[in-house]
Symmetry: C2
Subunit: 311 residues, 2 copies
């Protein structure tokens, strides 16, 4: 049993209080309103100001934030300063942040990655991990779960087309590669579950079933892994909808649903109340943040309504 509260417990409580939306801050510089980008001293500064505005406007609406580090690594050292400041801001505000880093390395190297992302400049509450090397790429991170409550989401069954290349291969009767990951992850975290019976480490499971078979598969995954909290990508711009996402929830909780572009770019596709590009050229971060908030609320309510419909 844990003597400290797990971040996974805090995430469960955030979902209960604020709904299931995880806002993905996959912020490219060209997602920032033109006017703001021009005023900023660099793209990294522009992204930071945009992020802070979106965070500020959505604190009561988002269960958590997910920051995709690739967008910041792309901008080099300056980008990683923005990444660091974005994480710090979220945590200062008392909100939870998932560092979407998909790291995966073994032994001592894994511990160094863990120190990099669970301490210091890049400290996050959760990380995402890739399991290809084996559980010795996951296990070293657990120390931080038991000492500091940190959490992780391990890639299990995603919804990109390439998912079928490896994750989906049969490894036995009624077993696919991703089941091996789910089973091993359950085993690894079984003895350290938190208040709400979820382990400190959960799984990334995509929500975009295109056939009835895939729908049944999503339901089966949720049933097979009751101890795993799910990070569910694929909502919105990536094609998933509320009715898909709820298949991966459990008793109204047990997962957060990530949307990135459909929230942070909501301002640019919102032409309904504008006179077109003219008005949008006038858009600033406050406008963008308001639209992000509206999109997050709409998404939160769509999931809640879908849960009610299924209840």
């Amino acid at each position: 049993m844990n003597s400290i509260k797990l971040n996974m417990d805090k995430l469960y409580e955030a979902v209960a209080a604020k709904g299931h939306v995880c806002i993905g801050l996959d912020t490219a510089a060209d997602y920032v309103p033109q006017k703001e980008r021009q005023c900023a001293s660099s793209d990294a500064e522009a992204v930071l100001a945009f992020n802070l505005a979106v965070i500020e406007a959505t604190l009561d609406t988002a269960a958590c934030y997910k920051v995709q580090i690739a967008y910041y690594e792309e901008l080099g050292i300056a980008g990683l300063e923005t990444y660091s400041k974005t994480l710090k801001y979220i945590r200062q505000k008392g909100a939870l942040v998932i560092a979407d880093i998909k790291r995966g390395d073994i032994a001592d190297t894994a511990s160094r990655y863990a120190r990099a992302h669970f301490e210091g400049n890049f400290e996050a509450d959760f990380v995402t991990l890739s399991p290809y090397l084996g559980m010795d790429a996951v296990e070293p991170w657990l120390k931080w779960a038991y000492q500091k409550g940190k959490g992780a989401f391990v890639l299990m069954r995603t919804s990109n087309p390439g998912m079928k290349d490896f994750q989906y291969l049969k490894t036995g009767p009624n077993r696919r590669m991703y089941n091996e990951v789910g089973d091993k992850l359950t085993e690894l975290t079984e003895s350290g579950r938190g208040i709400y019976r979820y382990g400190p480490f959960g799984a990334v499971v995509g929500a975009d079933p295109k056939t009835d078979e895939e729908k049944q598969e999503a339901i089966a995954i949720r049933n097979q892994y009751p101890g795993l909290f799910f990070l569910i990508p694929g909502y919105g711009a990536q094609g998933g909808a509320a009715k898909d996402a709820v298949l991966l929830l459990r008793e109204g909780n047990g997962g957060v649903v990530n949307a990135s572009r459909s929230i942070i770019k909501a301002w640019s596709s919102d032409t309904s109340e504008t006179a077109g590009a003219g008005k949008l050229a006038e858009a600033d971060n406050v406008f963008a943040a308001t639209k992000a908030r509206d999109a997050a609320i709409k998404m939160r309510d769509a999931i809640k309504n879908e849960l009610k419909r299924n209840a």
Copy 2:
């Protein structure tokens, strides 16, 4: 056919000219001689000065360098500045560098990672990639191969204990998960092979067979994937030896063998000519670099002799 020379071609030529050693700059601050570390203004500075000394001393001995980014991320922003400067220094000297980042993400995110590590502050000649998400985590990087000659090594069959968790699972008769990766990677790079008939992207294949069966497996892997250049970790501190590594070479080339700690920490374990810790406390970067050079030469020659013995 490529109109530009691939980095994989340059690596082949470096191996032919200088041998098979890839020096792993997995440099922790406590690998730096105490005296130098104390003089440095920060751990990140200490690591940088150490790296530059080792690189300078080994340019004619190493086919390439591999920089494990976890060790630099651990030191935060300052660490990534050291990482950036280490890469720049190697490339300025005309040597080749593999960014050991094991990134793996899809679609637009993959392209952003590619821009992060094939351009700008963190530009490297090669990267390492993780295939768990599928080939759509690998394919977007190829654009840089055909436009700029960049290369990658995709995790295929490693030699850590956890390798058996997923990579080693049977996916068919005489097929394991790693074969799926090797086959897909061959297919993806078939049409773009370079001068020496290796594709722009190769594979990470470990060299530490513990049984005769594993030895046969290494030989089989080498035969099955003639178009894949191998990055072979596991030499030295990780247990592998020259006789294991050569199993994964092909016609005297076709792979580089990485050693990290057995080279960059050679100075600290070298007590033979010293009066023990007293003398070692006096060690500086020049001493460490000389020992690194000696260790690299020893390793290079051990592999060459093993190849001769097998010829």
